[in-house]
């Protein structure tokens, strides 16, 4: 009887087994790497209706974060500055700049400037700014060195795992509350002693149960 299969068929089962397993591993790795917020979210820097430079305002001019994001210490939302906030200076400064036309238009019509939302959390995740800054989590810890950004860019993944990294181990991310808006703050040498002191003094116990954020 003639052979049903050619000789190379002998090796097919082994090759099949190997390639199926490799494929499976590759799929898992692929989703883990390219599907993660670290890959898909970090670096998101959309262009805004006004080419507002945080580098200029927060960096060179040294305006405090809270001048514009005024509700950060009291409220869940840090707040987007109103047209009036911009106009406190820009009613006097650079009034003839073509870059500021959308601002003056907003001022005249009463329709706010439509800034593009960058640091987005999903609707099912609850986040409160005041709860974090009031125990000493600095702005720069989550938003990066905004004072060096010409265009604001998302610098952290904002994934659940990223949140949990700090909630499980908050020590490295705490600073004195009066330093939270200081972009250039560096931890001192005795930082961990300080952090442990703050944790026990303020009774900081970051929740890691589901209901803390998924309410």
């Amino acid at each position: 009887m003639a052979q049903l299969f050619p000789k190379w068929a002998n090796k097919v089962p082994k090759k099949l087994l190997l390639s199926v397993n490799l494929l499976l591993l590759a799929v898992i790795f692929g989703f883990w790497y390219w599907g993660s917020p670290k890959y898909t979210q970090v670096g998101y820097a959309p262009s805004q209706p006004i080419d507002y430079s945080h580098r200029l305002h927060a960096g060179e001019l040294g305006i405090d974060c809270q001048y514009c994001h005024g509700s950060v210490m009291e409220s869940a939302n840090a707040g987007i500055p109103s047209t009036e906030t911009c106009m406190t200076c820009h009613s006097q400064i650079a009034t003839d700049s073509p870059m500021l036309e959308p601002l003056y238009e907003a001022w005249e019509t009463g329709n706010p400037v439509e800034w593009v939302h960058i640091h987005k959390l999903p609707g099912f995740a609850y986040f409160n700014h005041s709860a974090h800054v009031n125990v000493g989590v600095g702005c720069a810890t989550c938003h990066g060195r905004v004072d060096r950004m010409e265009v604001v860019m998302q610098s952290e993944p904002l994934s659940m795992g990223w949140c949990l990294d700090c909630h499980n181990n908050p020590e490295p991310y705490l600073r004195p509350v009066e330093e939270v808006t200081n972009m250039a703050w560096e931890p001192e040498e005795d930082h961990f002693e300080f952090a442990r002191m703050v944790i026990s003094k303020k009774n900081i116990n970051p929740p890691i149960y589901c209901n803390a954020c998924h309410r």
Binding site: L4, F5, A9, N10, P13, I28, W32, S36, P37, K38, P157, S159, M160, G161, W162, L164, D165
Partner: protein, 475 residues
């Protein structure tokens, strides 16, 4: 008779004085001959029901689990009942193929292939329910411990997660066991079929089997190892399924008797299902010489024994409810027998505890009609057992204010009906394209396989045991 007079000779496992080649022909011809007309009709109906299943699942996923009859207290309804019922049915296949193999029960060879196929298809039907009941089927991969950016990990303290591993391991081992057993028979078919394409297909799955001495040695060792692997699964899978209930603190669920009680019930219902399918198949395909009335009798004895194990558990649950002095436990059980679901409880009791007692009588054990009817009765009873356990404990829990009566919706009912479509679609394909009896294994238990069967000159022995070897005319 002189040499054998010291003991009662066992009835031969294969009747009708077959030769090796006639056994091969008997089984392989089913696959090789043209498809019978009834098969198309049965397959068509099964396909329609399977379509119904997919329609119902699609509707469920689209709309959410609200389309099921679940209400405030009864958070587990038909989905888990059907899951436990189908998984339980699967157990007979593993018991027959693994446990009876290790105990050297030669009669298993007539039904093991058949029962293993049933196991695989039953577990497929069972697996659907826990998968779709999660509501968000698109994140079902969360049950697996995969690395992810949420740092989310399955809850290893939950019996529901143990279930995922128990059932998927069970399915994998059953499939492997079934496939390894099929290899020599696939090679038989490869060498017999006329069509070139069929030969290639069977050949590809036969993995180059030639029937050489070394291959048989490896094969038997692999088969033995898989039987050893599958044996603990017979006990572990339904034990873990019972943990879904027993690990919680609901009265009527939180009992230590659950694991053995569930395993006995699973084997009970599984054997009944094998019986139902086998009685039909042996008649249609004329396999009465292999699946003999003696096989049916042996299975009926197992049904009787496991039926009484289950009955013992029912009674013991009541005893412990009283003996423990826990009033919630007492209420749960009295409520089962007399409460709003008493009708289901008494269906369960009469089907599972009373009905199998017919099998105390030899005449009943050897009656095809009685066996067939009781096998169906037992499976109805076992479905109601799961219904009683799941629903009665939840519908009347600790808080009387939230008591409610649970009824399924049409989606529940049609989904369950649809799983029969999936089951029979697979089963009919199996009957049509694969040898439904383990040809090679049956040959091993034939009288001709005994090295001393032929005399020194290679002649057939004088038929002194003619009366035992007579063709089976019992059905």
């Amino acid at each position: 008779m002189s040499s054998n007079s010291g003991y009662v000779k066992e009835a031969p496992l294969v009747k009708g004085n077959h030769t090796f080649s006639s056994i091969t022909a008997l089984v392989a011809d089913i696959v090789e001959k043209p498809t019978p007309f009834w098969w198309y009709i049965a397959f068509g109906i099964s396909n329609l029901l399977m379509g119904l299943l997919f329609l119902m699942l699609g509707y469920l996923i689209w709309e959410g689990t609200g389309v099921w009859g679940l209400n405030n207290t009864v958070a587990w309804g038909w989905a888990i009942i059907n899951f436990v019922w189908w998984v339980g049915i699967g157990h007979a296949g593993t018991l027959i193929s693994a446990v009876l193999f290790l105990f050297r029960q030669g009669w298993r060879t007539a039904i093991n292939r058949f029962a293993e196929a049933m196991t695989i298809f039953a577990v497929m039907c069972a697996g659907i329910f826990p998968a779709v009941h999660v509501g968000r089927i698109w994140v079902i991969y969360w049950v697996f411990p995969l690395p992810n950016q949420m740092q989310m990990w399955p809850n290893f303290q939950s019996p529901l997660l143990w279930d995922v591993f128990a059932v998927s391991t069970y399915f994998t081992v059953s499939l492997l066991f079934w496939y390894v057993g099929l290899i020599p028979d696939l090679a038989t078919l490869r060498d017999r079929v006329k069509s070139k394409l069929a030969a290639k297909l069977y050949g590809a799955f036969a993995l180059g089997w030639t029937g050489g001495n070394r291959q048989w040695q490896n094969y038997e060792k692999a088969y033995m190892l898989l039987a050893g692997l599958a044996t603990p699964l017979v006990l572990s899978v339904h034990t873990i399924v019972s943990f879904d209930f027993a690990v919680s603190i609901i009265p009527g669920w939180h009992t230590t008797i659950f694991p053995p009680y569930f395993v006995a019930g699973a084997i009970f219902s599984g054997f009944a299902m094998v019986m139902t399918l086998m009685i039909i198949a042996r008649k249609i395909y004329g396999l009465q010489d292999i699946m003999t009335i003696d096989h049916i009798e042996k299975m009926n004895i197992i049904i009787l024994v496991t039926g009484w194990m289950v009955g013992f558990a029912y009674i013991m649950e009541f005893f412990i409810a009283w003996y423990s002095g826990v009033e919630y436990e007492k209420f749960a059980f009295v409520n089962r027998a007399t409460g709003p679901y008493a009708w289901a409880y008494w269906i369960m009791m009469s089907c599972n505890v009373i009905a199998p007692n017919f099998f105390w009588f030899r005449k009943m054990r050897r009656s095809i009609t009685v066996s067939f009817i009781l096998s169906i009765v037992v499976n109805i009873g076992m479905w109601f057992e799961r219904f009683v356990i799941t629903v009665t404990s939840l519908a009347q829990d600790f808080l009387p204010g939230s008591w409610a009566y649970y009824s399924p919706t049409w989606v529940d009912v049609l989904t369950y009906v649809g799983t029969f479509g999936l089951f029979f679609t697979n089963f009919l394909l199996f009957l049509r394209f694969l040898p439904m009896i383990a040809i090679a294994e049956v040959k091993m238990v034939m009288p001709q396989a005994d090295p001393h069967y032929y005399d020194e000159d290679g002649n057939e022995p004088v038929k002194e045991t003619e009366e035992l070897n007579e063709p089976n005319t019992n059905s």
